[in-house]
Structure formats: structure tokens, C-alpha cells
């Protein structure tokens, strides 16, 4: 379904806030959609816009000159905490983000991102601090994300290796999804179910 995750180079959007929750990434009032359209406009909505629709002053980082088109978000610790809404990675991807570099991200957000072609790159706190410094010093510095070799190339031949779940890596590189993988396991699932009777019957007439 998704496109294979190819290596890419991009300038960086710095967002040094810690514990950025998914309510900030996409406020709940934008969750009434029944599809995935239009979420780029909802991204960080209340950090970007005043109630009247005008840009906030000072301007949020996404809307500063030169940020459009950047694909790497450099974020503070515990990015994506809170609500399980997959609308968060949908909105980030719709805006154009393909990788989030942070010192940790929330479990549900990480899983949701990996299923949508958004790569969380986890670095240690010291590396994260150095990256923020680098971007502060050279706002237009370009990084190259190479998932295949699990390395972020920094300027000056410096390489930043990162860990990634091998299964998720394979799925991203092939552009296949986990449901396809799971559907292929149907025989094993059926065999297991034959040996393990259902523990519940949710049908309305099953309750007494």
C-alpha cells in the first residue's frame, strides 16, 4: 500500500519541546473525519493558528520561512505521548514529514508511525542535544536518512547509526503492510483457534 521507504536528504525542522502529545499534533476536534483527507491543515493547529485563523505571533516553526518541504522533524523527548489517534502520523505524513528524530517516542505513536511510512529515529539524549545545537548553528544543514544501512549521514562524513525494529524496517523498505503479513498467517491462526475456544460472545442476545 505504502511506497517503499527510500533514502532521502532533507533540512531539519527543530521542535525542542518535550512530551509533545498527540492532542497537540492533531487536536481532537479534527478527529471527526471518516477518511484521512485534510489532516495536513490540522497538524499542530493550535500552536500555529489563532482562533480567527491567522498565524500565531511568534510564528510556529512549521510556518517559518524555508520550512515548507522539510521532511525531518527533530523533536524533544517522549514525542507522541497520550492519545492513540493514528491521525497524528497521518497528519505529519500529509504535511510531508518522513522521519522524527527524538530521544524517545511513545509506544502507540511509534507503532502507528511505522505503519504509515513515518520513521521514528531514536538517539541518545546527548546526541539529540548536539543535533539541536547543530541545527541552531546551521539552520539549513541537510541530513540524509538511510534506512537500509540504519544511518543518518551528517555533514562532514559523520554518521549517526540508529536502531530500528528489523521487521518494521523490512516492511518500510518493501512498502508492504503488516496486515498483508498477518493475512498470510491465516492457516496458523485457524489452527490455533481450533485449539483455543473463544472466551467471549459479544452478541447482544448472548448476554442474559
Amino acid at each position: 500500500m505504502a511506497k517503499p521507504y527510500a533514502s532521502f536528504s532533507s533540512k531539519v525542522i527543530p521542535l525542542p519541546a518535550e512530551n509533545v502529545d498527540t492532542d497537540q499534533i492533531v487536536p481532537a476536534r479534527f478527529l471527526k473525519v471518516t477518511d484521512k483527507e485534510g489532516l495536513a491543515d490540522a497538524l499542530f493547529r493550535d500552536w500555529r493558528y489563532e482562533a480567527d485563523g491567522g498565524l500565531k505571533e511568534p510564528t510556529f516553526v512549521l510556518d517559518k520561512p524555508g520550512m515548507a518541504g522539510r521532511q525531518i522533524l527533530l523533536a524533544g523527548d517522549n514525542f507522541g505521548c497520550g492519545s492513540s489517534r493514528e491521525h497524528a502520523p497521518w497528519a505529519l505524513v500529509a504535511w510531508g514529514i518522513r522521519a522524527v528524530i527524538t530521544s524517545s517516542c511513545a509506544d502507540i505513536f511509534r507503532g502507528n508511525s511505522l505503519k504509515n511510512g513515518l520513521l521514528p529515529i531514536i538517539v541518545d539524549a546527548e546526541t539529540q542535544r548536539q543535533l539541536f545545537e547543530l541545527v541552531a548553528r546551521e539552520p539549513d544543514v541537510e541530513l540524509t536518512v538511510d534506512l537500509e544501512s540504519q544511518v543518518v549521514h551528517l555533514p562532514g562524513d559523520e554518521d549517526l547509526p540508529f536502531d530500528v525494529d528489523p521487521f518494521s524496517k523490512l516492511m518500510l523498505l518493501k512498502g508492504t503492510d503488516e496486515l498483508g503479513y498477518l493475512l498470510d498467517k491465516a492457516p496458523e491462526i485457524e489452527a490455533w483457534e481450533r485449539r483455543h475456544p473463544a472466551r467471549i460472545d459479544t452478541r447482544l442476545d448472548a448476554g442474559t
Binding site: 497537540q24 496486515l179 496458523e188 448476554g207
Partner: protein, 497 residues
């Protein structure tokens, strides 16, 4: 196939035989549900119960249609509408066209795919994490998922219950399985006796204030100890509910007689002989005495005060008699900047006492504290009293059944006499998707689970607290200490179950 995969070393043991090493509750549930051990890939984990609501499911059903798939087990799936539904009288239409379309879409999806729906207008409608336990669908030893991070609530029954994204909702609909890696374990020991006026909400807010909102990432909490064992099921649900606020996808409590008493006789609970054998099975679930946890933290329940948050995440909490922290007194770095930014958003001064802070709105409800015992506590505190002038108190039952029970007990009369707004069931101002929301700048004491910026309405400011603290604050018009309520000893004993 499975046997081959479960074989270890030279031995080919019966896979149902207990391994020699001591196991935690989570280990036992995990081992019982592993369809396929991944060998590098994540494991295929069987899901017993899948809860569905209107907000995180539409795109999953669209995905099924696109692939031409059916729901594998509609009879292990159950749906309700809770997030975007109004809490105004049910005979009024949903005014928000998008919310109405989303609720309609859920009905269409459930009809087309054969999923039981406790929809709007049904006597069993309510917040998904309130109706699961209420209907007896939530049972010990199960794996339970829902496209909602507060699915951790169901862990109170000794079930492994966690929130999932919409892609995973589609996976579970299609296969009744998920791809998962075994989580690490985190023991949360709470021993001692809670003082009157201190409740389950204060225990979890205290834990979060210690470990922060990312402290449990990658882990599952197991809450244990004498203070946990002494809690009612509804209080246990309050604690497990907010596990996700500490970054843990799940949090659970070993099933015991309190659990079985709560479950017995509920609509979907086992009956007769099946009940007896189920209880026997459930009694084997608690962690083995010498089971090891990856991490441990201890909390002395006797030392706890009522807790309240002052900032913009649930980890920013303090004892209610304490002062708002001073960024200048914290180490320079991201933590200080977060604190500065939180205090600016909340418009609070460093060092000011949180007691006495003005409050505009009090919200009592949500999957954290919208159950009958929560409403009983709040009503006991409000009985014969009036809320402060100019303050708005919204009481939103967690389900239609909770509402009916409260009305049978006359609690709604107490709330109304105090000046509260008594509403229909739903998530309401916890997530503010349905029109129930704060206006910019307003302060709320809320029994819900999140105080993120704008969570209860754009520009709104939230103090998370217990139902007793919320009720005391509603009367005072400012943040108030529930321990100063007259007759607090007797009051705190109200609740039950």
C-alpha cells in the same frame, strides 16, 4: 506448526505445561495468546475482545472494504458511540454534521459487518471502557484492545488490555490478531492505607508525578500491594485507566475475590459450571511469588495527600497543599522550559499555592471517574450544598446504565439541587469533541485523565483531580482540599463495588 515453534532446545514439552521459571501475570496472559512466536518478527498475538468506537474505526472499515475482507469474528467485537456524541437529551438531533456522519457511519459499518452495537439510544450505550466491564465482557486473563489509549482501564480485571491505532483496528477486525512484541514489566507496589479523602485517582496522579509521562514507555504496569488489594473494582479501573499517562500501554491488577464478586451475574460473564471453571482458571493468573519485574517502584499509600495537576501533562501533579513549582529552582534544560511553558499556558505563578486557585468549571465524568461509585462520592460531598456562584458543574455519567442507577438512588436530584448540570452519557468534556468544552482561559477541575493544552477546549486550562476534590472545589469556587469537607471519614466510605 505451533508445536514446532514452541519447542525449546532438546525438549519438546507440552506447550500447555507450565514452564519452570516463575512468571508474571502479563507473562501468563501473553503465553496463553501467542499464536506464532516471531523469531525476529513480532509475535502473532490472539485478541479475545475488540472494542470499537466511532472515532478511530471508520478508516479501518474503509480499509476492509478496499481489500474485500470480512470481520473475522464479529462475535468477539463490540461497538458503541461515545466520543463525539452530545450529552444533551437523546431526543435532540446531533447538531454537528461531522459528528452525526461519524456516528451514522459506525451504525452502517456495524450493520454491514455484523458487529453488535450498543449505539446511541440503547440502554447499554456508554463510554467504551465503562460498558465493557459493566456488561461482563471484560474478564480476567483476556487480551483486550480498542482504538483508544484508555483501553488500559480493563487491566483492572487482570486482562492485558491496551490501546491501538486505526491500522491495528483494521488488523484485528480482519484477523482477530495483532503483531506485538512482549512488553517489559514494571511493578508498582502500593502498600499502606489511604487516608479519608484520598482515593485511587490520587494514587495514580502520585505515580505519574514521580515517573513522568514517559516513565513507563515500553512497559506494562502491574499494580500490587495491600493498598491495591483494598480497592474496589471501580477504583482499580481508575488507576489502570491512567497507566497510559505514564507511557505504559497497559496496566493491570491480579484478579481476586473483589474481581469475581464484581463480575458474577453480569450479562456476558460465564454462568453455572462455566463460572466455576472460569474462576478456577482465573485464580491461577496472579504473578508467581518469585516472578521478577524489569522495574519496580514503591508508593506508601498512608503518606499520600489528595493530588492535583498544575501543568499541561498528567505528570505535572502535586499534593494539594503544595505550591506550584518554580522553574528557576529546576535544572536548566528541556524540563525547565517545559515547566515555564506550562505555567505560562496555565497562567499560574511559581510558588503560589494551588489551593484557592479560582475555578470556572468542574467536570465530573469520563472513563477515569464516571462510574457509579464516583458519582456517589461526588453526590455525598454535594448533598445539601450549593456550588459557588458563577461556577458551572457538569456531571456526565459514564454510561446510560450508570445514569439510570444514579437516578434510582436520587443522585441526580442532589446534583441538580446543588446547581449542577446532569447530562447524558459520553466522553464529553474529557475530549471536548461533542460541544462540551471550556472557553479560552477558563479553569476547570476535572476528574478526567488529560490536562494537555486545549484538551478540554481550545485555550482551556485543566486541573486533574479526584471526584471528591472536584466536588469540594465546585462548592468553594476555588481549588479545595476534600479532607476539609465536614464528615469526610463517613463521606469517603461511600462508593462501593
Amino acid at each position: 506448526m505451533d508445536r514446532r515453534i514452541h519447542r525449546v532446545g532438546q525438549n519438546a514439552p507440552n506447550m500447555d505445561a507450565a514452564p519452570r521459571h516463575p512468571r508474571t501475570l502479563v507473562d501468563k496472559i501473553w503465553d496463553d495468546h501467542v499464536v506464532l512466536d516471531g523469531k525476529g518478527a513480532p509475535s502473532v498475538l490472539a485478541i479475545d475482545l475488540h472494542l470499537v468506537h466511532e472515532v478511530t474505526s471508520p478508516q479501518a472499515f474503509t480499509g476492509l472494504r478496499r481489500r474485500g475482507l470480512k470481520v473475522a469474528h464479529p462475535e468477539r467485537t463490540v461497538a458503541t458511540a461515545d466520543h463525539s456524541v452530545p450529552t444533551t437529551p437523546r431526543n435532540l438531533p446531533i447538531l454537528d454534521a461531522m459528528a452525526a456522519a461519524q456516528v451514522d457511519q459506525l451504525t452502517t459499518n456495524c450493520t454491514e459487518f455484523g458487529i453488535p452495537l450498543h449505539g446511541l439510544g440503547s440502554p447499554s450505550q456508554g463510554i467504551v471502557h465503562v460498558i465493557g466491564p459493566q456488561l461482563g465482557l471484560t474478564q480476567p486473563g483476556m487480551t483486550i484492545v480498542c482504538g483508544d489509549s484508555h483501553t488500559s482501564t480493563h487491566g483492572a480485571f487482570g486482562a492485558l488490555a491496551f490501546g491501538i491505532g486505526t491500522s491495528e483496528v483494521e488488523m484485528v477486525l480482519a484477523t482477530q490478531c495483532l503483531l506485538q512484541r512482549r512488553p517489559r514489566s514494571y511493578e508498582v507496589r502500593v502498600d499502606g492505607r489511604l487516608a479519608p479523602g484520598v482515593s485511587a485517582k490520587d494514587v495514580i496522579l502520585n505515580l505519574l508525578s514521580r515517573i513522568g509521562v514517559g516513565g513507563g514507555t515500553g512497559h506494562v504496569f502491574e499494580y500490587r500491594g495491600s493498598a491495591i488489594e483494598a480497592l474496589s473494582m471501580e477504583q482499580r479501573m481508575t488507576i489502570c485507566n491512567m497507566s497510559i499517562e505514564g507511557g505504559a500501554r497497559a496496566g493491570l491488577i491480579a484478579p481476586d475475590d473483589t474481581t469475581f464478586e464484581y463480575l458474577a451475574g453480569r450479562a456476558h460473564a460465564p454462568k453455572g459450571r462455566e463460572w466455576d471453571s472460569a474462576v478456577e482458571r482465573w485464580r491461577a493468573l496472579p504473578s508467581d511469588p518469585d516472578a521478577a519485574f524489569d522495574r519496580t517502584i514503591s508508593i506508601d499509600a498512608s503518606a499520600l495527600e489528595p493530588m492535583i495537576t498544575y501543568g499541561t501533562n498528567p505528570g505535572m501533579g502535586l499534593p494539594i497543599s503544595a505550591a506550584v513549582p518554580d522553574p528557576a529552582a529546576t535544572e536548566d534544560g528541556p524540563g525547565r522550559r517545559a515547566l515555564e511553558s506550562a505555567l505560562a499556558y496555565m497562567d499560574l505563578q511559581p510558588g503560589q499555592p494551588i489551593l484557592g486557585q479560582k475555578v470556572d468549571v468542574v467536570f465530573i465524568g469520563s472513563c477515569t471517574n464516571g462510574r457509579i461509585s464516583d458519582l456517589r462520592l461526588a453526590a455525598a460531598a454535594l448533598k445539601g450544598r450549593k456550588i459557588a456562584d458563577g461556577l458551572r458543574l457538569m456531571v456526565v455519567p459514564g454510561s446510560d446504565e450508570v445514569k439510570r442507577e444514579a437516578e434510582r438512588e436520587g443522585l441526580h436530584e442532589i446534583f441538580r439541587a446543588a446547581g449542577a448540570d446532569w447530562r447524558e452519557a459520553g466522553c464529553s468534556m474529557c475530549i471536548a469533541m461533542n460541544g462540551d468544552q471550556l472557553t479560552p482561559g477558563q479553569y476547570a477541575v476535572s476528574t478526567s485523565n488529560r490536562n494537555f493544552e486545549g484538551r478540554q477546549g481550545k485555550g482551556g486550562r485543566t486541573f486533574l483531580a479526584s471526584p471528591l476534590t472536584a466536588a469540594a472545589s465546585a462548592v468553594a469556587g476555588v481549588v479545595a482540599d476534600p479532607r476539609r469537607l465536614p464528615g469526610i471519614e463517613a463521606l469517603a466510605a461511600v462508593g462501593g463495588r
